[in-house]
């Protein structure tokens, strides 16, 4: 009898489980508002003031038409997006970096926007070629870019002039000389002013290496950690560390990292000579009341390869439609707005990111934004380095960073560390 009862209860429990499971994900129909407008859900990965900019664009879009109502949500956690997709509760549109867009599509998670573009004859020529390429996989566009970003070099004019230089560096060799002249230690060996742009780490991994002509992957997306440009760059980095003491520099970098983009940011405080950073930096400096007298110049090339000047990463923020979205038509309609002239302009000016639309390059408001003219010039030389379309991109970058840590800690020479990385990344796809 007991066995029968236990069996009955277990069966009942399984049934109770299977009922909600069968309906998990809910309806494929999109919801409507009380006044009959179709709801379009939109997730963006911004917070604070930047989230307000997105909410502004959403409000503008909702006021511009009466068929759809976009409901925005700030979601900075990728885990939530993935879980939502897996449980069929994905938003209709989401905004993310182009590298994430490509990763998601490599896993078959997106609806191609190319189908809508072809069906409507939508004009994509208004976007820069780089920004379209960044969102293209297998010949199809999977998202539209709303902004673009690249990194260039900020320099502290006063520190440079005090060291006797009137012009910023054009080559890595010049930059090294200036960095050594300006770097200042106190009596205990603590770094007071950092000359060489060791911080942020992401720029040391990228722009300092791109300037030497190096890249971490080839045109087929295969890892190339032993690229001569990488080794040259790392050897210069190590030379500087040996000259001023790796642990002293690490302490400075650790503090710089904790205070990044705050009032105490090392560049904002005049304690960094060179800073490889993005077009948003001038806006932040204004917001934090920094009085540093700075200039913006291209990432240096080398004496042997001056053509590498301005070579820096190129990425976009893009809007895409998950394959399981409930209101794809509404999603596409909103994408056209937010990635169009009016929507993108508000986003670009509000967040300090650069336009992906070439038609915005000459807009007076865009040109008037601090730093934008210099950065747009950098975009126009077309020296941007795009991330490879690898399945294991994030995993590879983590491996690269771990290998760089051993080089920075002076526990392995660049040659040893990169040889180890080459062996470790042999199965990276």
């Amino acid at each position: 009898m007991h066995k029968k009862l236990i069996g009955l209860v277990a069966l009942l429990a399984m049934l109770l489980i299977s009922v909600p499971a069968a309906f998990a994900g809910g309806s494929q129909e999109s919801a409507t508002t009380e006044d009959g407008r179709e709801i379009v859900t939109f997730w963006y990965n911004n917070t604070g003031d930047e989230a307000l900019v997105y909410e502004q664009v959403i409000a503008d879009y909702n006021a511009s038409q009466d068929k759809y109502e976009v409901q925005g949500l700030s979601v900075t956690d990728d885990q939530k997006l993935i879980v939502a997709m897996s449980s069929n509760e994905a938003p209709d549109v989401f905004k993310h970096s182009n590298s994430k867009v490509i990763q998601f599509q490599k896993n078959g998670l997106l609806q191609s926007v190319q189908d809508y573009i072809d069906a409507e004859g939508f004009d994509t020529s208004v976007y820069s070629a780089q920004s379209l390429e960044a969102n293209t996989l297998d010949g199809k566009l999977w998202a539209l870019p709303i902004d673009a970003y690249t990194i260039q070099m900020f320099y502290n004019k006063d520190l440079l002039e005090a060291a006797g230089y009137t012009e910023p560096p054009k080559t890595m060799e010049e930059m090294y000389e200036m960095a050594v002249a300006v770097t200042k230690l106190d009596a205990n060996g603590n770094v007071e002013i950092l000359g060489y742009p060791l911080f942020p780490y992401a720029s040391a991994r990228q722009e300092l290496i791109y300037g030497f002509g190096g890249t971490w992957w080839d045109e087929n997306g295969k890892p190339t950690p032993q690229d001569p440009g990488i080794l040259e760059s790392l050897n210069m980095n190590v030379k500087f560390r040996n000259e001023f003491g790796g642990s002293n520099l690490d302490s400075f970098i650790a503090t710089a990292n904790t205070n990044r983009y705050t009032e105490q940011d090392m560049f904002f405080q005049g304690k960094q000579l060179f800073r490889l950073d993005g077009s948003w930096l001038p806006t932040m400096m204004d917001n934090f009341g920094s009085t540093v007298n700075y200039g913006i110049t291209f990432v240096p090339g080398t004496e042997a390869h001056p053509e590498n000047r301005g070579r820096a990463r190129f990425e976009t923020d893009s809007v895409a439609i998950p394959v399981m979205a409930k209101n794809k038509e509404g999603a596409w309609d909103f994408i056209k707005y937010i990635a169009g002239y009016d929507g993108a302009k508000v986003i670009d000016l509000g967040t300090g990111n650069l336009p992906a639309l070439t038609t915005l390059y000459d807009d007076p408001d865009v040109q008037a934004k601090a730093g934008f003219a210099e950065f747009i010039e950098a975009l126009q030389i077309g020296n941007g380095v795009q991330y490879p379309q690898m399945n294991d991109f994030d995993e590879y970058i983590s491996m690269v960073n771990a290998s760089l840590d051993t080089v920075y800690a002076l526990r392995a020479t660049p040659e040893q560390a990169m040889a180890d990385l080459a062996a470790q990344s042999v199965n990276i796809d």
Binding site: V9, L16, I82, M85, N107, L109, N188, S251, A254, S398
Partner: protein
């Protein structure tokens, strides 16, 4: 049709089961189903969204051949075998101190316990500041003694020790349990020992420790299981250190704080390799289960001997 006549015992059993049904449903739905599903996923290539594809033992082969799995296991074992005993020792020490009678005893107890109720995320953020090599309290205190502190969270030689140090701040709950068990030790034992001429150290090791051994072992089991699940603190540190657009490895400097659960998380949600993550989770489950059995047997032995005493 014959009616089914239930005895009182059977009726009680049925009613009991029905009362337990909500829990049973929750247990089956939230524990058993994910457990079985993850076992299935461990044999598939699965990105958490699209249909899983059966790949047999490939994920397990991948796990065993991935050097980062072993590195993450080694880092986790460091926390299990270094941080757990250190925490237990600190908790016992604090419990011994606050069990004595002195002025402001209540305030001191509260001060020691308070960190335990602070959310881990907030506490970790505070510790990131405390570890700051330039402005942090820790290096400032060290500098009073002429010691130049390291970049705790940047230098792979110090990162795990920083975590151990951080753990000692959060032993309030263990301290309370130890305190309660210390109060259970009969005062007459100490009085007899004192008459026999035993000093404070002898009394501690010959009376206190044997009398509360069963509690210590139980706390050690909990500590070890928690150490195997060490995630939140390292996730926050790594995320904060990565900065905008990422600049450090997924497991901190040289992956020195890549804990096993963090690596599972990265595989599942960053690399979208839910199959491999499930395989890793199952291996962890097996290791912890074996360890738990060993510890339970050990506890039984200690409890028996404590009972005999």
């Amino acid at each position: 049709m014959a009616t089914l006549k239930l005895t009182q015992k059977q009726r009680d059993f049925r009613n009991g089961l029905l009362f337990a049904l909500p829990w049973i449903v929750g247990f089956l739905f939230l524990s058993v189903y994910p457990l079985i599903a993850s076992l299935y996923y461990s044999f598939t290539e699965f990105n958490a969204v699209t249909t899983p594809r059966w790949v047999g033992l490939d994920n397990f082969k991948d796990v065993f051949s991935d050097p980062l799995v072993w590195k993450s296991l080694k880092n986790t074992l460091f926390m299990v075998f270094i941080s757990t005993p250190v925490n237990l020792f600190v908790a016992l020490l604090l419990a011994t101190i606050v069990s004595r009678n002195f002025k402001l005893k209540g305030a001191v107890r509260t001060a020691f316990f308070l960190p335990s109720i602070i959310p881990m995320v907030a506490a970790t953020m505070v510790w990131i500041w405390m570890f700051d090599p330039t402005y942090g309290y820790l290096n400032n205190v060290l500098s009073w003694f002429g010691i130049q502190g390291p970049a705790w969270l940047m230098d792979a030689r110090y990162t795990k020790w920083a975590l151990v140090l951080m753990g000692t701040w959060n032993v309030g709950t263990t301290m309370l349990v130890c305190m309660a068990s210390l109060q259970e030790v009969p005062v007459s034992y100490y009085e007899s020992a004192e008459i026999d001429g035993a000093g404070a150290v002898r009394r501690f090791f010959s009376i206190t420790i044997p009398c509360i051994a069963h509690v210590l072992v139980y706390q050690a089991i909990l500590g070890i299981i928690n150490a195997f699940q060490y995630f939140q603190q390292v996730y926050i540190i790594v995320t904060a250190n990565a900065g905008v657009k990422g600049g450090s490895a997924a497991g901190g400097p040289e992956n020195s704080i890549l804990m096993y659960p963090l690596y599972i998380f990265h595989n599942a949600f960053t690399y979208l390799k839910m199959g491999k993550a499930s395989a890793m989770a199952w291996l962890l489950f097996i290791v912890v289960a074996i360890l738990a059995v060993v510890m339970v047997k050990l506890t039984a032995k200690v409890t028996d001997s404590a009972g005999r005493e």
